[in-house]
Amino acid sequence: MCGIAALQIKDPALRDRLGDLLHGMLCEVVDRGPDSAGISVYDDETLTASGSATVSLLGVTVTPDELHAATAAELPAGTELTVRGMGDTTLVNADVPVADLVHALRKAAPDARQIGRGTHVATLKGVGNPVELADEFGLVSRSGTQGVSHTRMATESAVTASGSHPFTVDDDLCLVHNGSFSNHATIRRTLRAQGVEFDSDNDSEVAARYLAVRLRAGDDLETALEHLKEEFDGFYTLVVTTKDGLAVVRDPIACKPAVIAETDQWVAMASEYRALAGLPGIENARLFEPAPGKVYTWAL
């Protein structure tokens, strides 16, 4: 069992409340997955200044100042660089291409694990109570276009920060998963043979890497998810976000719960209705469970 809460803001006037609303949703799914959690927020100016690269790290063993110095040494002189510690996660911003920052951090922090990258999204993960993680993230005061949070009850791999969702494995691509894949080892081998590298033994990471490969090859999100449905066996409710939008898909058996609510101002998906109950205008929202095996997408 895991908990998912995702929110996309349609009405720009509501963007300032993204974090506050997502926090309220997250609190209601904590007991579905109290061991660890992760949160991704898109387009918060203080986390991902527009155009600059953002990379999230786990397992940084030096102070933010030390990491700053080591990273600056790998980047062109005069690069604007910030390093922030947020609980288990370290968030790094720089006004360089994402690939350059990724490369610089591999040298500056070779033992750290990169758990998020892009120009729009900031990802934070940690072990422990999801609400404490949200506080470390300052989630309540975050603004933005969309966000996704996940509370994990680990089944397929260990309780670690790196095993937490979302899996943000390519630029601005996040995947959260409630369920378990049964053929992930086979697909992982196939992807490895194509040169794809993995960070964890987690089954959900395989789905994220698979989508990243398909999107890089030119699929749009809906097409990539249609392919995922063909390739992956198991139980899943997935939420996938990119800088362009949000998608929801459930496996054809649809054991894992999902409820969607949509108004003119926002669209939200959660494991249970109680996570949606506090959203503004919920009483007039279109409320439905996503149909089994159907891909739903909402563009930003």
């Binding site: 058996i253 719960p257 409820v259 209705y273 109680r274 996570a275 409320l287 089994p292």
Partner: protein, 227 residues
């Protein structure tokens, strides 16, 4: 006629345990109104008194589970497992419900005005379920006894591995599950369907429905049964 006093319980203030404790200790004939359920789990479960409960809003998992006496009306939607293991009495949901509605229910009547998710009436053991809208896939899975009435359409694998429950469908059936077949509507079926529709407050005519049940090929041991 005496005045019926209604006991109002606001879940935003009291929580589910207080509600359920009050319902378990209620006197026969009492009425309850439950406010602000906000998707809470286990609302109004295990009622053994002849009470009337009205819940205003959407509820979460297992609402009115193990229901035994009296009636529960949910003015909203219900999450997974509404009225699961119901023994008797009546549960009415005015909106939609999620998966596994009425799972393993032994007796009583579950009425859903809207539609249900997957596996409605899974392992049904004798209760009746009347759904105003559509039902999801694998409805009536391994249902042993009882009746399921579907006024809308049925999803894939209806009645998969069904035992002796009877299923009535007014709309289309996406596909039948293993060992489930259409069966003729005899006069006794029209009669029981009319009673069920009336009990659920529905206006559909029994002759608009088709009946489905077990071909009885699967659950009797047969050495020729092969996968």
């Amino acid at each position: 006629m005496g005045t019926v006093t209604e006991i109002v319980i606001d879940l935003a203030a009291t929580g589910v345990r207080t509600l359920n404790a009050a319902l378990h200790e209620a006197a026969d004939g009492e009425s309850f109104q439950v406010l602000h359920p906000q998707g809470a789990h286990n609302v109004a479960v295990g009622i053994t008194r002849e009470v009337s409960v009205e819940v205003d809003g959407h509820v979460g998992y297992f609402a009115a589970g193990m229901h035994q006496r009296g009636d529960v009306t949910i003015n909203g939607n219900a999450g997974p497992g509404v009225a699961e293991n119901m023994m008797s009495g009546r549960v009415h949901v005015t909106g939609d419900v999620s998966q596994s509605a009425g799972a393993t229910a032994v007796g009583g009547l579950l009425v859903v005005d809207g539609s249900t998710g997957a596996r409605c009436g899974i392992a049904l053991r004798g209760a009746d379920i009347v759904v105003g809208g559509d039902v999801g896939h694998v409805t009536g899975f391994m249902a042993q006894a009882g009746r399921i009435v579907i006024c809308g359409d049925a999803g894939d694998a209806l009645g998969d591995s069904i035992y002796e429950a009877r299923i009535y469908v007014r709309g289309s059936v996406a596909s039948l599950g293993a060992d489930c077949i259409e069966k003729p509507m005899r006069p006794e079926h029209l009669t029981e369907l009319a009673e069920l529709l009336a009990a659920a407050g529905r206006t559909e005519s029994p002759d608009e429905f088709r009946r489905y049940g077990s071909a009885r090929k699967l659950y009797h041991f047969d050495h020729d049964n092969e996968y």
